[in-house]
């Protein structure tokens, strides 16, 4: 039992932390977030140069590290509220290809991801699916060697910037059947695909992706036809672990900023941190953070266990992070008073991100239900 980073991991951590500290101050982040793309392609190039886009990819395609390295990068992303679409591209997109791709697909995509020349997005949700990954109405019908796709994917983060979008589609079975789901890699500019792009409340970019008779070749199929759900679940659990780390980064930043504010802001002649109610509230925030960090370690280190253990780990971690994040976010706003309400201070931006994190990949209610089913 050991919670220390290896030397290489520590070096990676130093590097991402330094980037966020030196090159990602909040005003720069605001400009980046408000730009057309919502992120900076220069930063993306930097990420590639520093090797971060190769984290967690298979070594034979230039990758290095695993879940712990992803955690390190994602925590820094959380601290900096980084808007570059790292999660959609590296964790989800490349994760799916690494998990299920043919050699040819891996060859074509993973190296390009690592060197920053290929961005990815993953469309798994639909307007009526809510959080159920197996609820897929989008259809992919066989046509010749290839497939024709029809359907609507909701709130696909990073879709506008992506070169390729991976979508789940049903090749057989009923709408909520676990079998019959397949994954397809689709070029973003292909015929029949339309996007409505929009900013999100947390300052990122997402899209509605609609497919009307999108024709793809056989090589667009990712993994075994009809057997994609376990792959999706595994990669989404990896996404959950990464998201937990991002949340911990956000929470830690809020905890530090708010604690500092309590020490400096004066009312009634004393720092407001002298008021016991705020002290105890701050303690509650600290404890939520520690619990969230512990659960993030736990899920990160359990991603390679068997399916049931992995899913228990992911659902319990996500449930904790969702609650802890929204609590710390809301309390940080409250303890900052009016200033916490402003767009100017970073506080509210972290709160907004933590709210979305609670929802992403299924909210606290969803994951408590999964966890209950897994532990009965």
């Amino acid at each position: 039992m050991d919670f220390n980073l290896s030397e290489e991991q520590q070096l990676l951590k130093d590097s991402v932390d330094r980037f966020v500290l030196d090159d990602y101050d909040f005003e720069k982040r605001r400009k980046t977030s408000n730009s057309d793309d919502g992120f900076s392609r220069d930063n993306w190039k930097t990420f590639a140069e520093l090797g971060w886009l190769a984290v967690g990819l298979p070594e034979e395609y230039g990758g290095f590290g695993g879940p712990v390295e992803t955690m390190i990068v994602m925590e820094a992303i959380g601290r900096g509220l980084v808007t570059e679409p790292y999660l959609p591209t590296v964790v989800l997109g490349a994760g799916l290809v690494a998990e299920a791709g043919t050699d040819a697909q891996k060859e074509a995509i993973l190296g390009a991801v690592a060197e920053g020349s290929c961005m990815l997005a993953f469309g798994y949700a639909e307007p009526t699916s809510r959080f159920n990954l197996a609820d897929v109405s989008t259809t992919a019908e066989k046509k010749g060697d290839g497939y024709v796709l029809n359907g609507h994917k909701s709130v696909v983060y990073g879709a506008a910037a992506a070169d390729k979008i991976i979508v789940s589609a049903r090749t057989s079975g009923g709408v909520r059947d676990k079998d019959g789901i397949s994954l397809f890699i689709i070029d973003n500019n292909c015929k029949g695909l339309t996007r409505r792009d929009y900013p999100t409340a947390d300052g990122l970019r997402a899209s509605e992706v609609e497919m009307e008779n999108v024709e793809v070749g056989a090589d667009a199929l990712l993994g075994t036809e009809g057997a994609a759900l376990p792959v999706i679940e595994k990669v989404v659990d990896q996404g959950i672990a990464a998201l937990c780390a991002e949340a911990v980064g956000c929470m830690e930043m809020l905890k530090d900023e708010t604690n500092e504010y309590l020490k400096t802001r004066k009312q009634f002649g004393v720092p407001i941190g002298k008021f016991q109610v705020l002290q105890h509230r701050m303690v509650d925030c600290f404890i939520e953070l520690e619990q969230s960090r512990s659960m993030t370690y736990m899920v990160t280190l359990k991603l390679d266990e068997d399916e049931k253990e992995r899913r228990k780990a992911a659902s319990s971690a996500k449930a904790q992070i969702g609650k802890g994040g929204v609590f710390i976010g809301a309390q940080s706003v409250q303890m900052h008073g009016g200033m916490g309400m402003t767009d100017e201070l970073k506080i509210s931006h972290y709160y907004k991100r933590l709210m979305q994190i609670d929802t992403m990949f299924g909210n606290r209610d969803w994951h408590l239900k999964q966890f209950a089913a897994l532990t009965q």
Partner: protein, 398 residues
């Protein structure tokens, strides 16, 4: 003991309802229902309609143009207005400065300000908070120095709601630095067009422009614009804060929000079921509705006591606390009901006349913005922490 409203009160309710059906414009109704931001003219249109009917100032005495309604009538009027999706009446003039003017003002002040306030000719805003004085309001620093028949004002106010729309601002200013904080404050009425006043927008986390900073640089205000005596402004301010709390529970509005949440949850597909059929989600809605019911009956008890002449004491703080908690619970659940569709946030595209439509379901419009803005209600107007301090002291004697 009896829960029923009297026959007269029930007749009044019918009258209000008929009026709203006839007079509330559909476009305003739609904007409110869709949680869209109201523009200056939207507020004023509705104010003029009510003014024409003589129903703009329910609580004011008749001699000043009010209706002199009982607390029960005001409650009924509120309920019906919210049920009909009428725009809210802003409190700054009608609930805040108006009663201060007719209670403490000189005859000429009453004559000049009150009719213009009621008609909407004067839009008022409130200059209380300062950057250094949030919960500790009495520590305010904006200085008013006497110079002949004028005061010269220097300082800054913050969180000034809708100051960018306002014609007049009522301000607490410091006219004496010595002694207790509370005993050196005066209450001034200031024309927003006076040279030296600068209004700067403060954008909130919903990216909306609701509040402002107001800067005063050598602003010259006639001493005649002072309410009551110099250095006694704290008394008037406290009187005003007391008025601010009447109706603070926002029961009728919360009921409306809750009803919309339930409609939305009934329309929200959740992987085969309706979200409202989910045992855990429907339980959270039920919990909130029970809390709102408790608030409603707490409010009615206090209303009944007011009807008999007992002014609300620390209990008003309880209504503010509970009301804001219920509102936040509802807006949180409403965001939660949207699932992934809570994410899209396209304020930038919502220019009038565009063919913008919300991403996701129609009911998603404005939900996240409202939720984010509503984080302020446990901070503004005396934070929840301050309200609890008040109850601990005033009610429990701790």
């Amino acid at each position: 003991m009896d829960l029923a409203f009297s026959p007269d009160e029930q007749a009044f309710r019918a009258e209000v309802r008929t009026f709203l059906e006839a007079e509330l414009p559909d476009d305003l109704r739609h904007k409110v229902r869709q949680r869209q931001e109201l523009e200056r003219e939207d507020y004023l249109r509705w104010q003029r309609i009510l003014h024409a009917r003589g129903w703009i100032a329910g609580s004011w005495p008749k001699e000043y143009g009010g209706c002199d309604w009982t607390p029960a009538q005001r409650h009924i009027f509120d309920e019906e207005c919210h049920a009909a999706d009428a725009p809210p009446l802003l409190p700054f003039g009608l609930q805040m400065v108006g009663p201060v003017i007719f209670t403490f003002g000189r005859p000429d002040q009453k004559e000049f300000f009150l009719p213009r306030l009621l008609s909407g000719e004067h839009w008022w805003c409130q200059g209380y908070s300062e950057p250094g004085s949030g919960s500790d309001l009495a520590s305010l620093q904006t200085a008013a120095v006497r110079d002949g028949d004028d005061y010269i004002i220097n300082g800054q106010k913050i969180w000034t709601s809708l100051a960018h729309h306002a014609d007049w601002i009522f301000c607490l200013v410091r006219t004496r630095k010595e002694g207790k904080h509370q005993e050196g404050i005066s209450f001034l009425l200031i024309d927003m067009k006076t040279p030296g006043i600068t209004v700067r927008p403060l954008i909130l986390m919903d990216q909306g422009h609701h509040v402002n900073e107001v800067f005063f640089e050598n602003v010259r205000v006639p001493v005649a614009n002072r309410i009551g005596e110099e250095n006694r402004g704290w008394t008037y301010a406290k009187f005003l804060l007391g008025n601010e709390r009447a109706g603070i529970a926002e029961v009728a509005w919360n009921k409306k929000l809750l009803q919309r949440l339930k409609e939305m949850a009934a329309d929200t597909p959740a992987s085969g079921d309706r979200l409202l059929d989910d045992a855990v989600f429907s339980r959270k809605v039920a919990e909130t509705e029970v809390k709102l019911t408790a608030l409603e009956y707490c409010n009615l008890r206090i209303l009944a006591a007011m009807q008999e002449g007992s002014p609300p004491g620390g209990e008003a703080s309880m209504l503010k606390l509970l009301g804001s908690e219920v509102t936040q619970a509802i807006t949180e659940l409403t965001v939660e009901a949207l699932g992934y569709y809570a994410a899209p946030y396209e304020l930038a595209d919502r220019t009038p006349g565009s063919n913008w439509s919300p991403v996701g379901p129609e009911a998603a419009e404005g939900v996240m913005g409202q939720h984010l803005f509503m984080r302020a209600i446990t901070i503004a107007g005396g934070s929840s922490e301050v309200q609890k301090n008040i109850i601990a002291k005033m009610v429990l004697g701790l």
